[in-house]
């Protein structure tokens, strides 16, 4: 009967025989891979969120009523419904400021809770004649004309198959659903100013207090500004401050820069965590492999005495380390995925930063890279000790354990 043992089979047998030690090594590699994969996906998601945020902002400057800058940022970044108004004449005044190329106004409105399980949504009404911000990215999903009583909804807004949504007891047709952005834009409902007026009037009829004392025709919530070529934002902001009082100016760059700053803080924290986990795991792997290889001197001596070459002995140890590395890598990725993907929404909500998972192929690349690293680190460590042992004389190797 043929009963040959290949080097790979010998490595498997060794792992099975020393199950406790192998389990320890696999656990360390799994921890390393868990942090490596999890940290990378988390950072990539935050980067993608920031990128989508910058793309969607579209305007250089946003002007809101004084004291409402935080509310405006809440609407854009976190989808926190809010409403605030100032006089429509501000838009005309802003259009005359030196350095201003285009202006467009928006009207904010919030819904009540539609039913027991829903949350209030933010309506953003835009003027189709002057808008240069909303319509370009609506066109990515909807090429038709936005008619009266039709709405464009963010990716997180729920609607039923009929394509009709009811707000303040009035029905509106969902014309298109926008792509996911990982920002507050996902919970917004966009409509032209005529439709928003009908929403406003419906809310007024239902007796919603926020419509009191508001003259719809002469009120707006924000003015978005595109600056002229050859001007820098700070100069235009200075010009606005010199000409118009009672407004709060938010620079688009500042908003993304603030997010980028927060993101950098988070990135440093994650990198330090990853570095510490990496160092800890590698130190434990070094110690365990050093002890393991040393205590197996007799085994290696026997292998050498029955004709195995030095290379074969090293190869057995390296194969064991590769098996341990790949197993740990897979376990780490699986555990990390069990947290990252099912709890994706919760993570995004908790970090309070734009958060958007990378595309599947990016995730696949990260998985492959994590697996390669997990499969390479343990063999590199193990081979250092295995080569040292294999260089000793057979007799001495076998005696060392006596």
């Amino acid at each position: 009967m043929k009963n040959d043992i290949s080097l790979t089979k010998l490595s498997f047998i060794n792992i099975k025989k020393h199950s406790f030690r192998s389990l320890g090594l696999i656990t360390m590699t799994a921890i390393l891979s868990l942090f490596l994969f999890g940290g990378s996906v988390l950072l990539l998601s935050l980067d993608k969120g920031l990128e989508s945020m910058s793309t969607r902002l579209g305007a250089d400057i946003m002007v809101v009523p004084i004291g409402y800058d935080k509310e405006a940022e809440g609407v854009l970044l976190r989808g926190e419904p809010s409403y605030f108004y100032f006089d429509k004449s501000v838009e005309t005044k802003l259009a005359k400021v030196d350095g201003v190329d285009k202006v467009t106004s928006q009207f904010f409105l919030t819904s009540s809770n539609q039913d027991c399980c829903s949350v209030p949504v933010q309506f953003i009404g835009f003027d189709p004649n002057t808008d240069f911000v909303v319509q370009p990215w609506i066109r990515e999903n909807y090429s038709g004309r936005i008619t009266e009583n039709s709405i464009i909804i963010g990716n997180d807004i729920l609607y039923d198959e009929s394509g009709i949504m009811k707000f303040f007891d009035k029905e509106y047709e969902v014309a298109a659903v926008l792509d996911e952005t990982g920002t507050g834009f996902d919970t917004d409902v966009y409509a032209d100013i005529v439709t928003v007026k009908s929403l406003f009037e419906a809310a007024k009829e239902k007796g919603f207090g926020f419509t009191d004392d508001i003259d719809f025709e002469n009120s707006i919530s924000s003015v978005l500004i595109k600056i002229s070529d050859g001007y820098d934002i700070d100069t235009v902001v200075h010009n606005i401050r010199m000409n118009i009082d009672g407004v709060q100016i938010i620079k688009g760059q500042t908003m993304t820069a603030e997010i980028a700053d927060n993101l950098n803080g988070f990135r440093i924290f994650l990198l330090v965590l990853l570095l510490l986990t990496g160092i800890f795991s590698i130190v434990v792997l070094i110690l365990t492999f050093s002890l393991s290889v040393n205590e197996r001197r007799r085994e290696f001596g026997i292998l050498r005495s029955i004709g195995s070459t030095r290379g074969m002995v090293v190869s057995v140890v390296i194969k064991e380390a590769v098996i341990i590395g790949i197993s740990g890598g897979i376990i780490g990725i699986v555990f990390s995925s069990l947290i990252l993907f099912p709890f994706n929404t919760y993570i995004g909500d908790s970090v309070k930063l734009p958060y958007l998972l990378p595309n599947s192929w990016v995730i696949i690349v990260v998985i492959i890279l994590t697996l390669i690293l997990s499969a390479v680190i343990p063999p590199i460590i193990a081979s250092c000790f295995a080569v040292k042992i294999s260089r000793s004389e057979i007799y001495l190797t076998m005696r060392d354990n006596d």
Binding site: C117, L158, P342, T345
Partner: protein, 151 residues
């Protein structure tokens, strides 16, 4: 040590490991939706939401899962093992169906029950199914091996 003794030890370890795992998963399913991965709070003035009932049902299912785990831990007769695993498998399927099809959770993706309780219950359900199926398969293969040896 003979191979029979090693085999018996392995079966014992498996039994205790599974018992402890079932007990832990059961407790998490029973208590989790009220505490660690809580469903949305119930407004006393309005109708209860779907997630509220999912949490209530989870208490019942989780308690049965934990009780079966406890039986697995304390009962000496190994013959109960595969029966308990079969029951846990069915309960695992049930706990998957409760928040997804049978009762559900709130529809809003950002509602706490949707973003936390739902994935947590699904993961626990899948874990329970994987553990029970693995135990049933190992038990089946072991019995087949023993039968072949006896023949």
């Amino acid at each position: 040590m003979s191979s029979t003794v090693i085999g018996k030890n392995k079966t014992k370890i498996r039994k205790y490991f599974l018992g402890a795992a079932f007990l832990l998963i059961g407790l998490l399913i029973a208590i989790g939706p009220q505490t660690i991965f809580a469903v949305c709070p119930k407004d006393p003035d309005s109708m209860a939401m779907a997630c509220y009932y999912t949490a209530r049902i989870s208490v019942g299912i989780g308690t049965v899962i934990a009780a079966l785990g406890l039986i697995q831990l304390v009962i000496r007769n190994n013959g109960f093992g595969s029966g308990i695993s079969t029951a846990e498998l069915l309960l695992g399927i049930l706990i998957l169906l409760v928040p997804t099809i049978l009762v559900g959770v709130c529809k809003g993706e950002h509602m706490h029950c949707h973003s936390v309780t739902l994935p947590a219950l699904i993961i626990l359900g899948v874990l329970l199914i994987v553990l029970s199926v693995t135990d049933i398969v190992i038990g089946f293969v072991g019995r087949n091996k023993r039968n072949t040896h006896e023949k």
